[in-house]
Amino acid sequence: MITWANFIAQLFNGLALGALLALISAGLTIIYGTLGVLNLAHGAMFMLGGYAGFVVFQLTGSFVLAVAGGSLFLVLVGGIIELVIIRHFYGRPPEDQLLVTFGLGIVIVELVRFGFGGLTRIVPPPGWALGVTQLGFLIYPTYRLVELGIAAVSLTLLYIVLYRTRLGMIVRAGIEDSVMVGMLGINVYRVFMVVFGIGAMAAGFAGIVNTPVVSLTPDVGESILVRAFVVIVIGGVGSFPGAVLGGLIAGEIYSLTSMIDPAYSDAMLFVAMTIVLLVRPQGLLGTRGRE
């Protein structure tokens, strides 16, 4: 039975999921836009973020520290991966980059499985975010609202970094033409490393924030990666606003379809993607010829 309250609740769910997907996809899309590498290990970063947060939470018992520590860890992991492996693949065909990041993803997932086993792990939401909140017209789990808030704040932060700082200006210039940026005397490799770290952090951060909602397994990143693909195909590859718009659209499609029949929610996402591809192949906010 579809009631108004149910519908509104699902709209909120869609918003929360959408904001999360937007964050993950933004990470994927700024890496692709700047470095030209589609990181197939991005789902593994999401998962690794969750586990890193889990470890910090075990040690400290603080959710906030878990989020901060996990995020820092992912910046480090991303930077190291860029430095040790990805850097040697800029001159190679895009297919090789896909293969190596795909392999890296598997190695990371299997390492975590090796270290933590295949059992599910849980990080509870912080005490102040337990229970439900009365929103006047509907009752909604508090942590979901917190998650929505965190995702919105971090997207805004990412936006500020990308559009209001010197680093962001270099990154956006790099998306347009990284060769030219190099010619202007900017050390693009250092920028690439930072961008890969930030992209990985966006995924990892989303991974931690999501753990109180969806429990952790080593395979949690796989379906997220596929959904992030859908998001950036819908929004337009390499476009930060596209990732945000695509994420919100995907989140709403997913939630509203599950209200009618959860079995079709993923399929509907791909229907939406196909329609976008047929009508506007470069994505809603994408630029023609960038691929």
Binding site: F102, I106, F270
Partner: protein, 612 residues
């Protein structure tokens, strides 16, 4: 050496398949492992044609593997189909139809987009199998009770039950698969596939319908995947839902990369390594679940250091020890004489595409009010331009005058913002570049657009194939040497540019001047009646310039040429008429003498100094 004995690869494969059950048990292979390797190997043949040969990396092959398998399994179990062979056939056909439809969507984009879309589409199949269609597919339980095949031979019936008894059936299927695949990659279509992998832009510029060929490669991969999926159900007596997972597609990609892409046998070898290590690490070394970690690390190392996999590495080692030096480029030999001698006027006329309709007497090409703007920048402003039959026209202009943009519009590489282009009186505005090339209009590029990893001859063959076979032809199983007139076309083209002696050298090893001549040869092989040359002399040494000017004089016989260049001496000597572009607009047009006297032209080049 491999080419001397016909069917050598096929014979060796047959011998290997027959010997395998006698040898592999000594290495610790269980019969069921060998059977699974064959199914993976067959699955991978199609993927290798798609990725290794055509350059399209799909992460969604599981969709067709699962579709073929579940259709066959459904027919055999739920519907009680009596004939296993027929079920396999139907399963494979359904998978190929699905492949065609998916290809229509996925191939709208290339590269990284294509990979992402295939992943996403394969996920749809997985969800559909699990939920909406679970009534038919058994959801997460799959379809149990798939029967094994048998073959009635007249006097006895062969029952392919499990283990080694199943092996001959699967080995025969694999053999059929590899024989067909070998024919495909050696066919004209196979040559076009590799052209698409190397340089899709040039493949369409010489007149191939790249999209149609990509779709064909995609369908071929779906056929193999569907066929292998059918065999998986039969092999296991049960059709597992895991066939549809992303993990299946990923494992296929990894196995192919481990074994070696672009080798056809790579997937088989990769599967053997994969399954052997999996068994070995799990049972003998007691690694438990960590086997996949080890395989993942091996895979990453291979991608980093041995990009063509085990077979590729092996081939490189052999090539290193048995390498014969290629005939060197003739140092001070009179190449000019060779070029002139190699080509008689008649032969050059023979290379011009014969036009069947009544001869058109108007201008060969006409541009009416052509304008091109990129955002706010106007690259070409309202250009009116005509060239008559048999003319050699020069186009000059300072850098940034819009010459190359103008050429791109004449060959329909990009559409004009406004205006029209007529070729032999026919409006070609908005046609695609391949169709225009098929009409007899093509160009050589300012920056070389070659098929770099192929030999010089293979390059010319690809261009000549478009001329011989048209935009698209479904000759998957035809031998390339059976294309009528191909050899003559290729030899004549090579002769014209004086590269016959270097025909079997890989493009990467050619000198720059030779690459430039090959660039022209690719355009010539399409037998154009109108040939556009974008800076054919750029970057050449003085001696190479003399040779190329001679070449241009030769190839103009029987055709119309338009040449862009900055070498004023050469172009004023060659052309009857010269068009000057400046700031995207037509500045002047006339004979070389008129242009030399033109005040406007002098100012455009010298910034008014000449007037002072």
């Amino acid at each position: 050496m491999l080419k001397r004995i016909p069917y050598l690869v096929e014979i060796l494969t047959a011998v290997g398949l027959i010997a395998a059950p006698y040898l592999l048990p000594y290495l610790g292979f269980a019969p069921n492992t060998v059977n699974r390797i064959l199914v993976w190997g067959l699955f991978g043949i199609g993927f290798d044609i798609l990725f290794g040969y055509t350059g399209l990396l799909s992460f969604g092959q599981s969709a067709f593997y699962g579709t073929g398998g579940f259709v066959a399994a459904y027919l055999l179990t739920v519907l009680g189909f009596p004939n296993v062979w027929l079920a396999i056939l139907i399963g494979t056909v359904v998978a190929s139809i699905v492949g065609y439809l998916v290809g229509l969507v996925a191939l709208r984009r290339t590269g990284i987009y294509f990979a992402m879309i295939t992943v996403a589409i394969a996920e749809v199949f997985y969800f559909v199998e699990f939920s909406p269609l679970s009534e038919y597919t058994g959801g997460e339980n799959g379809l149990p009770g798939v029967p094994t095949p048998s073959l009635y031979l007249g006097f006895t019936t062969l029952h392919f039950t499990g283990g080694w008894a199943m092996y001959p059936f699967l080995a025969a299927c694999y053999f059929i698969g590899i024989v067909i695949a070998l024919r495909i990659v050696r066919s004209p279509t196979g040559a076009v596939f590799s052209a698409i992998r190397e340089n899709p832009l040039r493949a369409s510029a010489v007149g191939h319908n790249v999209h149609a060929y990509k779709l064909m490669a995609f369908v071929v991969s779906a056929v193999y995947a569907g066929f292998a999926g059918c065999l998986l159900g039969i092999l296991q007596g049960f059709m597992p839902p895991e066939a549809f997972t992303f993990e299946t597609s990923g494992q296929l990609v990894m196995q192919t990369a481990i074994g070696g892409t672009g080798t056809l046998f790579g997937p088989l070898l990769g599967a053997a390594v994969w399954l052997f290590l999996q068994d070995f690490l799990q049972s003998s070394l007691d690694f438990g679940a960590a086997w996949k970690l080890v395989l993942g690390v091996i895979f990453v190392l291979l991608v980093c250091f041995l990009r063509r996999g085990i077979i590729g590495g092996f081939v490189d080692v052999i090539a290193y020890f048995t390498a014969k030096p290629h005939p060197p480029a003739p140092e001070e030999a009179p190449v000019t004489a060779e070029i002139s001698a190699a080509i008689s006027p008649l032969a050059s006329v023979g290379l011009v595409r014969r036009r069947e309709e009544a001869p058109f007497t108007g201008p060969v090409i006409e541009a009416r009010g052509v304008t091109k703007s990129f955002g706010g920048i106007v690259a070409n402003k309202n250009i009116n331009f005509t060239v008559e039959q048999g003319e050699l026209r020069g186009i000059i202009g300072p850098n940034g005058a819009g010459k190359s943009t103008f050429f791109k519009m004449l060959t329909c590489e990009m559409p004009p913002t406004s205006g029209q282009i007529f070729f032999h009186g026919r409006d070609i505005t908005g046609l695609d570049i391949a169709s225009v090339c098929q009409l007899g209009l093509t160009k050589s590029y300012q920056v070389n657009q070659l098929f770099t990893r192929l030999t010089l001859r293979e390059n010319v063959v690809i261009a000549a194939l478009a001329e011989r076979r048209g935009k698209f032809s479904l000759d998957l199983l035809r031998r390339i040497d059976k294309v009528p007139g191909l050899d003559e076309q290729v030899e004549a083209t090579l002769g014209m540019v004086g590269l016959t002696a270097r025909a079997d050298v890989p493009v990467a090893e050619l000198a720059y001047g030779e690459k430039r001549r090959l660039e022209i040869a690719l355009a010539l092989a399409a037998s154009p009646s109108l040939l556009l040359l974008d800076e054919p002399l750029a970057g050449m040494s003085p001696r190479e310039r003399v040779e190329t000017v001679q070449l241009l004089k030769n190839i103009r016989r029987g055709r119309t040429l338009i040449v862009i260049d900055h070498d004023m001496d050469a172009i004023f000597g060659l052309a009857e008429k010269i068009t000057v572009l400046h700031d995207g607009a037509l500045l002047a047009e006339g004979t070389p003498a008129e242009i030399q006297r033109n005040k406007l032209v002098q100012e455009a080049y010298l910034g008014g100094v000449a007037a002072a």
